[in-house]
Symmetry: C2
Subunit: 173 residues, 2 copies
DNA sequence: ATGTCTGCAAAGCTTTTGCACTGAT
DNA sequence: ATCAGTGCAAAAGCTTTGCAGACAT
């Protein structure tokens, strides 16, 4: 009944459990840091960077060193819980594997990325096989301009033109 | 008649011309560096990094500073001749816009990227529109394992198992 | 003559590494 | 008691920036 309001607790618990198994299977230790980091990671609504994660941990009164964050996020990637995304900014971003079966729309002007679903594309990719290659996951990023920026640029361009005309008028006086 | 053997000289000349126009239109200067860099860029069969480009320029007896390379490649991206690709390695990679309408298959083990064509996907994306967003280009990268690496890993795992069994046998002597 | 372009060197950021201490097993 | 994990600081890589001199316009 309340399943719609709940934040998919089952899903997240399953991920924690999967991480547990991954750690056991690979002779990795179950440290408090790792579980606190995983908690924070699961709480991010979408993309995040190591820096974001570091700040979140600080906010949570559980500061962790940068090296540990890199190390742990690597484990999470290896455990197939996270994947890394190249957003075009300097810093690498990460996202939950289970959460993101979306297309990334990246605005080249403001740099923001929006996620959109496309069942057709998903179905196609799930069926698609490539010769001499085993797919683990995929990422489709679409680059362009979001409408907000397009409108703003248009307005700025218009103002620029007006100024240019003014200057020409003045210089020919 | 020889059009198949020729390296699409028309296409490349058109690109040089397009760059020319871009420079004029934006009040940029036509320096020898820029044209030599463009030549080298067009000669790359696929992805390349700033480092690759630098080495190629050196080979060509036309060394150029790193800052100039970044500056010029930025221009080429802005002129829509190149686009940048995030390969997951530290350094950004670039590729020709006209050349790459391919899917990138990236092997997570050896790190190599292979390009494959997929007319179905291309047709789909060419028709696809997104709400409140103007598409300029897109990139589909598939992550996984290439067969070469898969075979090698399998063999290594088998040897590992054999050694583990040996050790157990010895310890129980 | 003007103002952009280039090259050099230094700075900036993200990520990696080395080492000693801590703590899970 | 081990030996992997953590934190710190330093190093390493890639990219950007500031400035002086060179050069296309």
């Amino acid at each position: 009944m309340r399943s719609k309001k709940a934040k998919e607790p089952q899903g997240d618990e399953a991920i924690v459990e999967a991480f547990n198994e991954y750690l056991s299977a690979n002779n990795k230790r179950k440290t408090p840091e790792r579980y606190r980091i995983l908690d924070k990671v699961l709480a991010f609504p979408k993309l995040f960077t190591i820096e974001d994660l570091k700040l979140a941990m600080n906010d949570d009164k559980f500061p962790v060193s940068t090296s540990t964050l890199y190390y742990t996020v690597d484990l999470l990637v290896d455990a197939n819980i996270l994947r890394s995304i190249n957003t075009g900014n300097q810093a690498l971003a990460f996202e939950r594997v289970d959460q993101v079966k979306s297309i990334h729309l990246k605005c080249e002007v403001c740099g923001k990325t929006k996620l959109v679903k496309d069942p057709n594309f998903m179905a196609y990719m799930n069926a698609r096989r490539f010769a001499a290659f085993t797919t683990r996951y995929y990422n489709l990023t679409v680059y362009g301009t979001c409408n907000d920026c397009a409108r703003r640029l248009k307005r700025e361009q218009r103002e620029k033109n007006i100024n240019a005309i003014k200057q020409i008028k003045e210089s020919t006086k």
